[in-house]
Symmetry: C2
Subunit: 582 residues, 2 copies
Amino acid sequence: MYRSHHCGELRSNNIGQQVTLSGWVQRARNMGGMTFVDLRDRYGITQLSFNVEKDISLCENARKLGREFVIQVKGLVIERESKNDRLDTGHIEIEVSELNVLNESQTPPFTIEDNTDGGEEVRMKYRYLDLRRNPLRKNLELRHKLGIETRKYLSDLGFLEIETPYLIKSTPEGARDFVVPSRMHGGEFYALPQSPQTFKQILMVGGYDRYFQIVRCFRDEDLRADRQPEFTQIDCEMAFVEQEDILETFEGMVRHLFTEVKGIELPKYVRMTYAEAMKKYGSDKPDIRFDMSFVEITNEAKGKDFGVFDSAELVVGICAKGAATFTRKQLDKLTDFVRRPQIGAKGLIYARVNEDGSVKSSVDKFFNQEDLQLWKGKLKAEPGDLILVMAGDTEKTRKQMNELRLEMGNQLELRDSKVYAPLWVVDFPLFEWDEEGKRFHAMHHPFTSPKKEHIELLDSDPAAVNANAYDMVINGVELGGGSIRIHDQTLQAKMFEILGFSKEEAEKQFGFLMGAFKYGAPPHGGVAFGFDRLAAMFGGTDSIRDYIAFPKNNAGRDLMIDSPSTISGEQLDELSLSVKSE
Amino acid sequence: MYRSHHCGELRSNNIGQQVTLSGWVQRARNMGGMTFVDLRDRYGITQLSFNVEKDISLCENARKLGREFVIQVKGLVIERESKNDRLDTGHIEIEVSELNVLNESQTPPFTIEDNTDGGEEVRMKYRYLDLRRNPLRKNLELRHKLGIETRKYLSDLGFLEIETPYLIKSTPEGARDFVVPSRMHGGEFYALPQSPQTFKQILMVGGYDRYFQIVRCFRDEDLRADRQPEFTQIDCEMAFVEQEDILETFEGMVRHLFTEVKGIELPKYVRMTYAEAMKKYGSDKPDIRFDMSFVEITNEAKGKDFGVFDSAELVVGICAKGAATFTRKQLDKLTDFVRRPQIGAKGLIYARVNEDGSVKSSVDKFFNQEDLQLWKGKLKAEPGDLILVMAGDTEKTRKQMNELRLEMGNQLELRDSKVYAPLWVVDFPLFEWDEEGKRFHAMHHPFTSPKKEHIELLDSDPAAVNANAYDMVINGVELGGGSIRIHDQTLQAKMFEILGFSKEEAEKQFGFLMGAFKYGAPPHGGVAFGFDRLAAMFGGTDSIRDYIAFPKNNAGRDLMIDSPSTISGEQLDELSLSVKSE
């Protein structure tokens, strides 16, 4: 063993002990006759001291140490003259008697500090150096702990972790698959799973009534800032359950994680239907740390010769408490905000509630005080409040208002990062209409069951059918979602039909699942959580990339290993493949 | 919830309770006025009783139930008239008052019993039915428990589970990679990892001094009976350690697993060098549950005009205690055994030690009693023992004798499945000579470090260089292996050179690792265990396939989902690929 202790463990009560430490040189300082070296490892930093008067050659060697050199030292734990209370080890130092350089280091291309000077690209290329920094180390430790506690919770409830295959079968439904050419079966391909969905359902048919897996999933999508081609899911499924059983079980899981990992007692989950979430927040993942919910004033706003409102399907307002103090400049900026192409609103109407209760709006030309008092009443606005109103097509306007509401939440500091407001959104529609393809898509996936009372609408009015589907949302972030599945072969066949699969397509792609349903499939349902996202939420930041040891960049490239890359002609030949030139 | 209890939990002390159970119909029996149904779920079997006199229509419905129907029943727990002591639930039954059929089932293509009538192929196709059988269920439960306990042991020692990427870079060294075409970078490919080897070393450079991961690995090999294209590894790495630290840590891990999962206290590990293992057992994974080690009698056997021995490089014998009773027929069968093409020996010489101490051999024509007594002495044979001798080239003969020794171990029942004899084989050669390619291969992998005292032999006599490499072997099965790695960039470059990599090739494939070594790489080493193999050993069988929920067949095909399969022309176009016809 290269060490008797690690660099985060020695304290005053170790004074007088001979110890051996190993680690990286964080920094070295020469002060008169003394040289001090901060030695770092995963566990902390311990100060080493070298005294010229005691051992001149040792001290000279210490002075040759560069940043990130790997060294081993032996020495005596002594009390520090100038103590550092910010370090756990700040009351002691090691009076070094032996120094071994285990490996040298070139000067790193960026500083290994909490706030580094390295840009994103260079840090990705030298990921092994970036990983030495405290923030990343803490993220990966947090992720490990979340994994351990997730497994503990589920295992204690009788869930079995069962590994499903990574080399599966390509299905065109959903996102694009990554495929893997088969050498033994030339011209044929495996696919990497977008999720173990069908396998976990097969496990339910196989009698494993409580399954989970922390599992990698793959999607060949055009990447956005926060997407990775491979990501990790906590994937779960239960048999002989109803929706309520699942909600309780996984509310319990996330509660357990908050208690064990963050020491936070999560408040009771709010339940909200999809319809209500859209109507009140314009989003299926509302941030309910603050209210400011939508109030529809379409009836009140119409018929006053204001064209924007008169032609609108929906007129909707929010009440920003205490924001009547917003200046004209601030309000103009808000208008610019909603007009940005990403949001795409035409404009923003505002109305301030004065101290005397009167309302002053940006559309006083069309609305008299009586009209505005009606708005005020509906929005429950009080003196000092600011009313913000948008109008247009229902769906678009709600989305735009959602953006505005979140922005107001930010500006009014209502989105406290220390507060967690958990929510189940339930009763999602079963289908969404694809205007371009003139067909229905499954909103969740084709295995999601319709509400029993809506089954009769499947033929006559598919758009009106709600699903036994649910999402867990905390602070506006969708952590996971799932559904009660179809376990009846006739209903499953009907679903494929509505989704536009021919019988042959359905059979080719999902024949094994339909087959399984013929041999005693139990009622079942499940849920999947984004593990990267969960870790990011627990870490208190947005970027999942900082919670993945070796992420890819936005072009799906690993800059450290330089992948993807070309392969040899022999490899291609073996796979019966050729690359087409443009 | 579809049930108040599961089918393995009700006992006599539940008598009088109203319960709800759900599960599968294992079997139904009509006996006069009564119908009995065995209801099965993951946890056990509970008997249901239906009484014609009490409820005729209920009983009639029960009589319509087929095997594997999924049902829910409500009823009263009552004492059973004829108790079944072989079932945990055998003292009670449920007097059913309500029966709901949750799903029907076609008659399964094979019986869902411990000993099924289904052949391998049909059970693979209907894996969801096979998975309902007790033996497979127990295997997957065992595997789950091994995973939980492995994580517990390592996590408690400060190991962090860190996920490494699955979309990495193809390297021609070692086995064949599965590759994944990139759509965004046409003509380029990712590869699926054969192991996370380089990433775990990068993590050591990154300061994560105790890493592990239970991780899927992929190898595109021509499959043998017991190989899978995807398999699972317990992958581990430590920094600032020497070989001894690793051996102790992972001996501890396997000891922990045996204690927690099997309730068995593992004996002390034997340590044996590779050279000794080959000399004494003709194998680098000897089964040391029994001795019968090789004794070389080359000197004693030569010069007696027996051509087979005189021309042999090695004459080697084993002493089978008490096997002098083997009949001529048995001995002929042993000779046939070693002559099989898989073993390829020319013949087998035997010598029985009689009760009076005299020796009777199959080569009495060449060897007199004095000669044979010399054999007897060297082999420490006693009256009643059987000496078996083989001769030829050293390496081949040792391999053949290894097979014979294991066969004798089987025949003499010395390989007790309840006994576990753990072993570390150490000091493997660094290289093995590839006669065909006229070059050296890395015996373990190119990152394994040579013994310090052998470094000077790297240029002059590579074949004589031993490695800091070790394998864990239990009962003749290699459970895992690893090495102390090279952490010095110059030595690593030299290794690539000896292995025949040009500088450009080494840079292209492993440039990132060589780069990492320039920035303060700590001394490090690790080990990886075959998780499927480990589960099979704990389960007491040989076939890893029975410990994988969804294995592939010998042709790399998943018979249930029918994969691999063709993909669409559009998919190929997007990937800039075309399939070559033969």
